[in-house]
Every structure is written in C-alpha cells, then in structure tokens.
Amino acid sequence: MRRELEQRLGVPVTLENDCNLAALAIYTLELDPKPRSLAAVCLDRCSAVGWIVQGRFAPVTAGELKVPAALQPDPKNPARHPAKQWRKALQAGDAGAKEAMLGIAVEAGALVTQIIDRLHPDVLALSGATVAELKDWLVPGIRQHLAGSGPECGAHAASLFVSNLGKDAALVGGAVLAAATVRQGSSGWRP
C-alpha cells in the first residue's frame, strides 16, 4: 500500500493506525509533562484506541473493544455524523435523546474502564469528533462510570484528559509523524 502510494505521489509515505496518530497529536501538542503511557480513545473510530508507552507506539492488548454503535458513522451516509445529530437533539431538549445518551455514556464508560483495566495508562485521553460534539453529555457519564468502578480496575490511578483537537486529532498526528520522519529518516515512533 505504501509503495503504491509513493509511486503515485513521488514522496515518502508512512502508514500508521489512525488512533495511534490521534494519540501522537495529543502526546506531542497537548500534554506537558509527557506521561509515561497514554491511551487515546477515539469513540467514533473502529480501532478505538491509540497507545503510546515511553514515547513509542505500542501494540494494543486490550481485547475486543466494543465502541458504542450509536456513535459510529454510517458508511453509506458519511456526511451525517451521528454525534452532530445527537448534539442537535440534546440541545433541543429531546427527552428521548437525553435518555439514550445516558445509556451511550454507560457504554462509553465501560469501554474506557476496559481499556484502563487492560493497559493501565498514566493518562487516558478522549478524542475525536464525537467527544468534540458530545463532551458535555458524555464525559460526566464516563467519569461517573469510572468513579463507580472497583479499585482493582485501577481507574482511579489514570488521569482522564479531554482533547481539544476534535475531529482533526488523527490528521494533526499524521503531520507530527511526517515531521519526525523527515527529521530522523524514520518516524522513531515504532519500537
């Protein structure tokens, strides 16, 4: 894939997982000091989590991750991002949407808890278009879910961070990785 794209463009191309790129953008541009480990959760992306340990991408060993289906974009109608529809309904005071969002926040909280339980990150960042659109409704529910989880989960040790990069987090991360590639000859982000 990389080689074929390089042939078409005539410049070096690097491939990376989209959530890893979101994590890289958050790690590089939003977090200071840098945590030892960062899990970036992208609620509207199928791969769901990007994972950085000691300044390198690391393989995710969190098992099968169940992203709330109600937040996934419809491939047949990509222009209609579900988060935007949810936000409009919530802002209009739609009682059904409010009730549904409580359930979605519980699902998202369960996903975040699962990731913290398996990876034990120092920082867990929420990122992506869904978080940008729905943070006022989702984040309190996720925090509540974490507060209610047992101490064995380790959820209390992880710091929750909400990214301001919105839908462009992965795109910005790609630029950060491209700059590293040009500077060092290789990205340096892969072990």
């Binding site: 894939m1 463009l9 005539g10 410049v11 992306r45 462009d168 992965a170 795109l171 790609g174 040009v182």
Partner: protein, 96 residues
C-alpha cells in the same frame, strides 16, 4: 515566491476511513493550511482507492496554492493495525 527563497517544508496527512477520506496540508508548526475531502469508495477496490487518496492529496496541496515539491512527507492513517515496516494495512475496518 522569489526563486532564491528556499521552499518551506510542508507535510500532508491523510485520514482514510471507510466513510471519509481527508487530506490536510500542514506547515512545520503543525498549522493546518488547507484540506480536501473525497468519499473513499472502498467498494471499488484498493487500486482505485489509492488513486482517490493520491487525488485528494494533490487537491489539498493545490488548495493551498503550493507546489507539490514543498511536500516532504505524507502520512496516512488507516482504521486498523499496520505493519509499518512493510507499509501494509493488515486489516481495515469497513474495507471488507
């Protein structure tokens, strides 16, 4: 631009999902200068999808009134695990 002025380095980042294909042009401060968007059309197969990625990248660069020679590297984010050394997407969600 003056012929003696070195062309500043720019980077292009591509976000390839099953529902959205976006290419963004960034300056060295990671400021997004412009972008282009196409539907990825995964049903047409990989070769055509890569043609669309290349077109989207060139459209984004053109949108910024840049010469393509200013682009020093392209990074493409894909929805799934990758073999970064071999430049392969091992599995892409929504791409069959």
């Amino acid at each position: 631009m003056n012929a003696d002025t070195p062309t500043p380095i720019h980077y292009v980042s591509v976000d390839l999902g099953s529902a959205r294909l976006v290419a963004g042009v960034f300056d060295p401060s990671f400021r997004l200068l412009g972008q282009a968007e196409l539907s990825p059309k995964p049903e047409r197969g990989q070769a055509q999808a890569l043609d669309r990625v290349a077109r989207c990248v060139r459209d984004a660069v053109d949108e910024c009134d840049l010469d393509f020679g200013a682009v020093h590297a392209v990074v493409m984010g894909v929805p799934g695990p990758v073999d970064a050394n071999r430049g392969l997407a091992l599995r892409m969600a929504g791409w069959g």
